[in-house]
Amino acid sequence: MSQLIEIRWHARAGQGAVTAAKLVADTALMQGAYIQAMPEYGPERTGAPLKAYTRVCDEPIEVHNTITNPDIVVVLDDTLLETVDVTEGLKDDGTLILNTELSVEEVRDLLGVPATTKVAVVDASGIAMDTIKRDIPNTPIVGALSQVTGVVPLDLVKERLINTFGKKFAQEVIDANLESVDRAYKEVSVA
Amino acid sequence: MKMPALDTFDEWTPEEIPTGFVANAGTADQYVTGGWRSMRPVWFKDNCVSCMMCFLACPDSSIEVEDGKMVGIDYDHCKGCGVCVHECRFKALDFIREEEVVHEEEEEIASVIEKAKEA
């Protein structure tokens, strides 16, 4: 059976979840994987809760539906925890990654995730404010995802960022993004 | 372009029908529509100054022109709309019922026969 990894992203519109979903897919593709990345389309207003999806597989991906039983859930905004059931359908041995100032223990208590589920937290917004100078947690959180899950290696994520941003942005913007990825990779705490 | 003749239109076999039901251009000339007329424009040459307003207004290109002068009406294609009559400012065009023409023609034929008999 093929090795299919399914990632579900929770965010608010404007936080760059779709870009992150595509960044992970594109990076996996650099390793020769088959990929899928898509947003869930609905009413789109900045701040509205949204979902995005990434699939990575070593064989062609046949399914074309939303991800209901993800291996990995990434939450870009912890205020969503009050209104959205982010762990819905998450596999018991899956991984939950949050952009939050809460500790792993606090998140575990809050969401009541099973002990078999890996929980990781990183202050991606704080890192983004330090480095990119804007609250765009989508790039740093991919660094955390790389550290915690190994779905995509850090060096390829950075290479991909340089390829994507190189065409559009100034060198300092690219450097800031690369630094944010590095910091989230190092600062993420897992338990 | 080689196309089947338009007057055999109804006899075309499916194989003969040109792709897209395309036809040679200008075939309206072959299609006599004068029979649709119930009113007929009549031209009075003596009043006509060849201002060409009738020519411009005619939707069926039925005003006949030679050397820039109005010379008559193409009754094979004139559908009798009367726009030319409406546009004429020189009383050079009148509009009459087709029956009157038929009646006049019958009278004319009768008089010809009469004259022939007398001779």
């Binding site: 074309h64 | 897209g20 036809a23």
Partner: protein
């Protein structure tokens, strides 16, 4: 596994790329979600001078196809794209485009029709075009959307066909999802498609012709019989170009993608992206010893009846999954076509028709399992044969 040619793109991007490579003379389009990015991308190519296409901006979808028909009659190679209400607004022009035999290639991101308002994917729009005379292709993936678009030009412009071709992909599901794709070199595509020589171009003033003529009853009927014959006759030509393109790309082409039918007890017939979902679940069921085949026509008009029958003939029961409904009719469009083909072949295999995924409703594994779990009852004649709405 690694392939240097592979890159990521959405279905819409892939169609825009295919059209860019072919570089048609005219594109007239009115952007409507979810095909918008095809036209948006293409407008960029025009603005950046990457193509020589005359891009005509119009005030509606009706005008978009009208302009395409005019340009095609004039002798231009023409492409456009639409979706949903836009395709619905084109309805009268769809018939004219096919009747005038204008070889236009139009992409459609298949989508629901209002009401209620929905922007999401289903086949309600394209099924409204099924009887218009257009050739209609369905793609499962972004990759197939690209391949179908390339061969569409060959099919449309072949002198034995000369019909407009609709190259469709599922709205959002395929149009906006990013997938791993491959693309051939620009020159390879240009060489494959070749130069377009129109048959009776209006702009050939040395040979003046009239297009869009009047035909009375008998002639009209004779002509429509030609249209039917030409549309049906396109099937082997579609296959010919599909296979020729497959030879170049290495990506196989069949009129019907028949998966696992050789030894299948049951068969599911389905169009577009959902076929992948059904195959995915059927693959898992095989591990449990349940043999289900999946039959996906890549060409819907002309309908490949013979190929479909061949793929289904050994099944004990068949499920036809329609992503649109013929409200007031007995069964969905794909089911009606399938049943007619089976009946004509003298096969009385029980068929159950499901309508699914309307308005982008998610095609979950559970729903597919529901279809699978009904097969045994269907085979034994214990299942009612009414059309069923899946997941409602």
């Amino acid at each position: 596994m690694s392939d240097h040619k592979a890159f990521s793109a959405t279905g819409n991007q892939m169609i825009a790329e295919a059209i860019r490579q072919i570089d048609p003379d005219v594109m007239a389009a009115y952007p409507i979600t979810p095909q918008t990015t095809i036209v948006e991308n293409y407008a960029k190519y025009v603005a950046n001078g990457k193509v020589h296409t005359e891009f005509v901006t119009v005030e509606s979808e009706h005008s978009a196809l009208s302009a395409c028909i005019g340009a095609s009659a004039a002798g231009a190679r023409v492409a456009t794209a639409t979706a949903s209400q836009g395709l619905a607004l084109m309805w009268e022009e769809l018939h004219i485009a096919a009747g005038m035999r204008t070889p236009i290639v139009m992409a459609n991101a298949n989508r629901a029709l209002s009401a209620p308002i929905s922007i999401h994917g289903d086949h309600s729009d394209v099924m409204g075009a099924r009887d218009t005379g257009w050739i209609i292709l369905f793609a499962e993936t972004a990759q197939e959307a690209y391949d179908n678009t390339v061969i569409s030009f060959r099919i449309a412009e072949d002198k034995r066909v000369l019909l407009p071709v609709m190259t469709t992909l599922d709205g959002f599901i395929t149009s906006h999802a990013m997938e791993r794709c491959e693309m051939e070199e620009d020159q390879t595509v240009k060489d494959f498609v070749g130069e377009y020589t129109p048959l009776y171009p209006l702009l050939d003033t040395d040979n003046p012709v009239g297009h869009g003529m009047f035909a009375n009853g008998t002639s009209y009927m004779k002509y429509r019989s030609v249209l039917r014959k030409v549309n049906h006759g396109a099937l082997p030509i579609i296959e010919e170009y599909g296979k020729a393109w497959a030879e170049i790309t290495g990506r196989p082409y069949e009129l019907i993608d028949a998966w696992g039918v050789e030894d299948a007890d049951y068969v599911v017939v389905v169009l577009g992206s959902a076929a992948g979902n059904v195959r995915h679940v059927a693959r898992q069921m095989r591990e449990e010893g349940v043999k289900i085949g999946v039959v996906r026509p890549r060409v819907y008009r002309p309908f490949p009846a013979e190929q479909l029958v061949n793929a289904c003939k050994n099944a004990k029961a068949i499920a036809v999954m329609d992503r649109s409904d013929t409200v007031g009719g007995q069964y969905g469009p794909l089911a009606v076509d399938t049943m007619a083909a089976l009946y004509e072949a003298g096969l009385s295999i029980p068929v159950k028709n499901y309508v699914f995924g309307l308005g982008g409703a998610d095609v979950t594994n559970e729903l597919i399992l529901e279809v699978f779990s009904n097969f045994e009852k269907l085979e034994k004649g214990e299942l009612d044969r009414d059309l069923a709405f899946l997941g409602v």
